[in-house]
Symmetry: D2
Subunit: 351 residues, 4 copies
């Protein structure tokens, strides 16, 4: 009954097997010039239907911050939802990597809206006194477990590009989004106007596998230098490449994401049917936000369930828990079992 986060799990057996094989293989050139990395790059090209530049790094924070740094001058501004991971959970990494100022924008369910963004940018103060918006970052699936449709991404990209901003997508849970939307990677990313993508495989079934995927070859040199300078160029590159490669092989990544999503659906359906809890809003990926009384939450915890209370600071008034209630986040993953979900729901029913 671990619903704390999808980074509490280990890795999928298939990923582990590939890692074991790669780790036991003989000598391979270091720093990403090996054949496993080459194979992975070819796989990325096939998945995206075009050449892309792939930079493997150690964390989503690094993927996000390096992406932003490569697409903004130091005097730029990063526009992002005020609850975005880069804005609130990465300890000022954009300021460190890019020098950039982070500007949080509001939006229901953690999403930015293209029309609202257009209105803001129309009267945005720009110039040497103010700085200059340079990068728009959106999270897919986002921090509230919600999705941007391809049309929504494209609308945001159009507004961003129209004002000279690049569009970054934080795809720490992109697999869950793609699995749910049934779109392909190309459609929801570069074809919709994404300029640079943080593609995360760690939460989805690897132990550590994060990639910056750039759709702008002219940024290749900059990203290569920035990665090394930031201590993110992993010497035995096979470690990451082999995991990512196995994860992407034969739709494994989508199978794992579909399972996580299905477990979230099962959980949501049970909560919707429960008298002791209610959904804060409809989940769309693998994160379920639920409103409970602290008493109920404590009873679930006592029974072994693990999950986090969540901040309501950014919620629209209509989405706030009532007096005496609180907001909690439940995250499912590739290793969540039906038994985990059912035990949780049974405990809830008793509560």
């Amino acid at each position: 009954m671990i619903f704390s986060s999808d980074n509490w799990a280990g890795a999928s057996p298939k990923v582990l097997a590939a890692l074991a094989v790669a780790g036991a293989a003989g000598p391979l050139p270091a720093y990403g010039t090996d054949e496993i990395t080459r194979r992975l790059e070819a796989r990325f090209a096939a998945l995206f239907g075009r050449e892309v530049d792939v930079f493997l790094v150690a964390t989503g924070t690094a993927a996000n911050a390096l992406s932003v740094a490569a697409f903004s001058p130091p005097w730029g501004q990063l526009l992002i939802h005020e609850e975005g991971h880069l804005a609130v959970d990465e300890c000022g990494a954009p300021e460190f990597f890019a020098g950039i100022r982070t500007v949080g924008l509001p939006g229901r369910f953690g999403k930015l809206d293209a029309a609202d963004l257009a209105r803001r940018l129309a009267s945005w103060p720009v110039g040497v006194h103010h700085g200059k918006p340079a990068v728009l970052s959106i999270t897919q699936a986002n921090e509230s477990g919600r999705l941007y449709t391809t049309d929504e991404v494209r609308a945001l990209a159009d507004v961003a590009h129209g004002h000279g901003l690049a569009l970054h997508m934080d795809g720490a849970r992109l697999a869950n989004a793609v699995a749910r939307l049934g779109c392909d990677l190309a459609e929801i990313t570069w074809k919709a106007g994404v300029d640079v993508l943080s593609f995360g495989a760690t939460k989805g079934g690897c132990l550590m596998a994060e990639a910056i995927v750039s759709f702008h070859p002219e940024k290749r040199e900059e990203l290569a230098y920035r990665r090394k300078r930031a201590g993110q160029l992993i010497s035995k590159h096979r470690l990451v490449a082999a995991q990512f490669d196995a994860w992407l092989d034969g739709d494994h990544w989508l199978d794992l994401a579909r399972h996580a999503n299905a477990m979230a659906d099962r959980l949501a359906a049970g909560i919707a049917a429960s008298a002791a809890a209610r959904l804060a809003w409809e989940p769309q990926a693998n994160e379920v936000f639920v409103v409970l009384t602290p008493t109920t939450a404590a009873r679930l915890t006592a029974a072994g369930a693990r999950f986090h209370e969540w901040s309501t600071a950014g919620l629209a008034p209509e989405d706030r828990p009532a007096e005496g209630e609180r907001l909690y986040r439940l995250v499912t993953g590739f290793s969540t079992t039906e038994a985990d979900v059912d035990t949780f729901l049974a405990t809830l029913a008793v509560a």
Copy 2:
């Protein structure tokens, strides 16, 4: 016959086995609050004979640059051998992480000398126009495959501390040094005056396992914040912790290092006996610097040997290759076999 670098290898079977077990284990708290990391921390404390603060990171570059950043103000200066890895091979990481200015100092065989350092610091310009020496960094074993004895470390630490500098040790190949010197970790590090250590296990037998070991508890918070902010806080911490733990268990790390050193000795002995090559200087760990004609080097390469030509820019005049000769570096590792060495030497003999 791969002597390119000790980061071309995979990982030792024992490390891989531990990684497989950890990866397949059930849910564990993220970000280093798991039991494997706890166990590793206890192991570090035992090895060093005291409480230490351990921060696992993805690369040696990150370990080095974060260490320096935590022990220097932005207007500080990093004093380091002019051939030191931090000075020439990390793409300005100290400047990026710490804001610091890197100042390279000369010294034979890549080593700094305490008396020379004392002379320099005695008349070092300090003040707001110049900045202020803040960190001395030494590499153990160093970039020329040479060692600092415990007395030499202590002498450098005394000079550094006497002028208000902290002493950082880049221990990417610390295992090889400890194995050769037969000292213990405590003696050669904090007891000799090292303030903060980059302890690398990647080159020594893991796929990716680097640690900052700080002997100053008052730096704990700073290092924790800096690590996260730099995108170096790995979420599924078990990945690194399990490898490091297995590597340190039961002297495995020393066994691997002893083997690498023995292979270097075997190589050096053969070269010393050869008419077609000579040792540039006596190796002390797992790196052998050899002087060859380019013709000989090409013949070895054609036979499948892999190794790098090395810069002679920093060499003392008496250590320079003669006209028509060049300097090459051969690195052995935990997976180097006697057959690798003997085939190389046989090829050399023919050449």
Copy 3:
């Protein structure tokens, strides 16, 4: 009829005279070790009733950003009103100088409220994922021409200190505030809990004279190094010191500020009495915010008046101009004349 800003003026005759004398004086030691700077430092000590550390710099941006940098670690957060100068008009200087993340807070009339701040800080997310609030900055007189009373400053300081934040005061128009409040400098600054102050004399009657005044001797070295490193250590220090000294001499600074405030009062009274305009809110220093129709504004401009339209983005709903109206800012200064004001009001009356 120039009400654009108080930095459009030249300098007061007394300041200019002192500058001429200092500029024609013989050789003086550079970099702030001269006798004029010594005299100024003594004057500051007398004014504040204690020893203070004074660092003269070229701009308010530098004074603000260096102050923040010296009182925050790079992973800190700067809490400031969302309309604060440091937040919106200094091009990311806090991010550049300090690495810090800037977090804007709301508050009516550009002011922060101690009770609101206490509520926010009580549940502020702190830790390696989030960063850490480090500095609270308030502007006195603020960007809306409003003042903090000594009690209000103290209340904010108490909340800030209670949560480990330092309190910075941006005093680009501190003279106007002190002149209006009738307090003394010590009362409204360090005795009320201000840790570091940007004290500006440029807007108040000098050509260029900005000082960081630190009440923490332990920050002296850091500020000295940071100032030089930022290119803010002016070599012929007499340039700034002589201006500041003359400005502070014999209550000249307060006389100039009283005049500017009186001109603002005269302007405000006339606007309050006018049918063609209304005060957006009661002015308290030398900035008058007025609501006009664009037609009226254009007519004033055509008559030679100069002033800026102002953003209403941060206004509380009750303070917003009505449909068809806009917000404008009028700034008076030491050189504003009654004729300037009366001509403006007469033009307004005709309009």
Copy 4:
């Protein structure tokens, strides 16, 4: 007898007069949009025989570091003489402003040699592990009081450009160089390949007047943003513009420089003729390096002379003082009188 530095003087009467007029003038737009700055910009264009971008700043450190930052990526390297001001006297400003690594190169009399530079760059390690040389900076007149001829500047520019580096000229004493060489500004700067220039008027006769002059219009926006963000955009721009304008008017700057140079010549001739001192090397601008015994130096100081002992660390062996001697620097300026020089020489003769 003040020979400490040319920044100990005040300003020339003509400059002071212009400053007084500008300071007493009525309101002018702030931040460099005023008519005095416009006039100065036109004057610069006339002097350089082309359009240039001029950015006035507060210090030479800021001019240098902003120039370097605008012409280098953060992972770049600044190549500069190891005794260059940016390398040893600006407290790590290049690292702060640009993120860049500073690499000091040797060269006699503080000068870099094109052939030597070409040799070095031919085998310079470039790539993500090492970084990338990005800017070459030379000082004119340099820190040893020596000059680069137009041909020497062009030769260095050709080597730099051939390897993708921009050429920066630190012209804190450019007036002295131009006065001595009898060249024009265009010839010795952009026509010889200089990409960006720090043009200093402070040492030459103003109180504070430093300009970045860029010959690359595509850097205009970047320099404008960087200047503001660094707290170097002075609000009452007339302060600097008026000084610079008066200084450049009617060859005043060259007249002042010619005087300073003549005083250096007079000093050098006297020293050359003295038995108690000798020239360390032939001066070419307004700095005279002299070898004295400490006893002689003390006697001069006792008589009221002021000058600094100078480091011999970077000297070629053949230029080092003998046992018992030391190196001192004497700087003349626009306000140095023949009486100053003659009294010094008379004192020396007695000594």
